[in-house]
């Protein structure tokens, strides 16, 4: 059982009373994101890396690549392995030890975005069919959890992949080259709290909400992955609205930060 955020009743009331007036704790509108900054290639030892700041949330993503064996059922396709570390330095709620279900879910949703958008051409990552393919490790390191680390991690993963150099020369497989990407998936998360939908929730907002919906959209405006989490409910109309806004937000983020 993961330790969940505890929030005082008085703080909860405060957030709720602001919300009735259409306001948020940090003065944002309901669909406004915190400031985003992406710094690439921060780790020279990694094939690609990105440090994402979403407000004060900080996530570092590193990509490593090495040749390895393909899976038996896909002998001519590269392999993506996504892992997330919720290290205890990032939040009083994270504990040392093997990943808990929150960390596993986070890694799997980040993975879903990269995989289902087909951003990586896995067939192009085949070296010798059935024998040797490129294995792409996407490692997410949460540094400071100030809310919505899923969007930050997802953004970090694609930003790191965008600047990943395939280390072919290191393994005697020719010259290094930039990893080609075919899409830029963006994850957008909203919470529902007493019929209000709030995007890019902060920690306290996450703590009061029972329902969270993450929508991953592709450059063409399609949906390539979704995940509802939390013990609350959601009306279909609310899901439709989140998707509409998510597509728009994702486009803005993609244009501003990731498209050269």
């Amino acid at each position: 059982m993961p330790v969940t955020n505890v929030i005082s009743e008085i703080k909860k009331d405060f957030i709720y009373n602001l919300l009735i007036k259409g306001e948020r704790v940090d003065g944002r509108t309901f669909d406004q994101y915190r400031e985003i900054s992406i710094e690439r290639n921060v780790i020279q030892k990694a094939e690609g890396s990105a440090l994402v700041k979403l407000g004060s949330s900080q996530v570092l993503v590193g990509v490593k690549m090495q040749p390895g064996e393909p899976f038996q059922d896909s002998p001519n396709r590269g392999v993506i392995i996504t892992n997330a570390e919720l290290v205890p330095l990032a939040s009083p709620n994270f504990e040392p030890g093997p990943p808990n279900e929150v960390g596993i879910e986070l890694a799997r949703v980040v993975d879903r975005g990269v995989r289902e958008s087909k951003a990586l051409d896995l067939e192009a990552l085949c070296i010798v069919p059935g024998k040797q393919v490129w294995i792409v490790f996407i490692d997410v390191h949460i540094l400071d959890d100030c809310g919505n680390i899923l969007d930050a991690a997802s953004l970090g993963a694609i930003a790191a992949l965008l600047c990943t150099k395939v280390p072919a020369s290191k393994f005697g497989l020719g010259e290094d080259y930039i990893l080609p990407l075919r899409d830029i998936p963006i994850a957008t998360t909203a919470i529902e709290f007493s019929d209000v939908l709030m995007f890019d929730p902060g920690v306290d907002e996450e703590a009061i909400a029972n329902t969270k919906l993450t929508v991953i959209t592709t450059a063409s405006g399609n949906i390539c992955g979704m995940q509802k989490s939390g013990t609350g409910m959601l009306k279909p109309e609310q899901a439709y609205r989140i998707i509409d806004i998510a597509c728009e937000k994702a486009r803005e983020i993609r244009e501003k930060f990731l498209e050269a």
């Binding site: 059982m1 289902e116 029972n210 592709t218 979704m226 013990t231 409910m233 439709y240 597509c247």
Partner: protein, 253 residues
Amino acid sequence: MITMDKTDISFFKDGLRLDGRRADELRPVKIEVGILTRADGSCYIEMGGNKVIAAVYGPREVHPRHLQDVTRAIVRYRYNMASFSVEERKRPGPDRRSYELSKVSREALEPVILTSFFPRSVIDVFVEVLQADAGTRTAGINAAAVALADAGIPMKSMISSCAAGKVADTIVLDPMKEEDNFGQADLPIAMTPNGDITLMQMDGGLSPEEFHEAVEMAMKGAREIYELQRKALVEKYSQLAGEPGKEEVHACD
């Protein structure tokens, strides 16, 4: 989801699917209530080729104790696949997929369980997938919801779960293995009979319009499953009620 190159698999023949279903048709569903003796509540479900058993224990004491919540019962959900349930033997024990499915499945059921009635206790839900054929999480949730009712756990409503998918650019209900493996999208949902969604996941590719269509189709499927869950529960309990009144005899009398 594995997507193959353009293979020769055709998903439709004369407007029907590989197993003869229409696009908006469920696979055959069989639900049996109370099939285990030791569990407080149980349910066996077959949805197409899926065979899943769910058992509920509790409310009972929490172990380890530090997990207990003084205001309500905690809910635990363990989704587990038998190693023989799939084509290639699965390594026994939990993997990352089953951790995630356990989490979202628990969160699909928790909204309707009146946990505040049982502070400091735990409601354990165990789901064993005996045979898998696409849609095990939805089958597990359907069985678990019935098992919770069978265990007499107070709930605000039933939870019913169903997936919709996209194959050959067509939205289909309750995808089977081939459609799941080689299809274009998978969207499992769970909901209350009122249409409040408690589980929603998606992978693949859908336009916003297709998403609407898929949600509506999955909800239609869930409503049909709800009727079957209800029928199964009513059948079991009306049978019990219908038994000729046996005089209760106590050992100490």
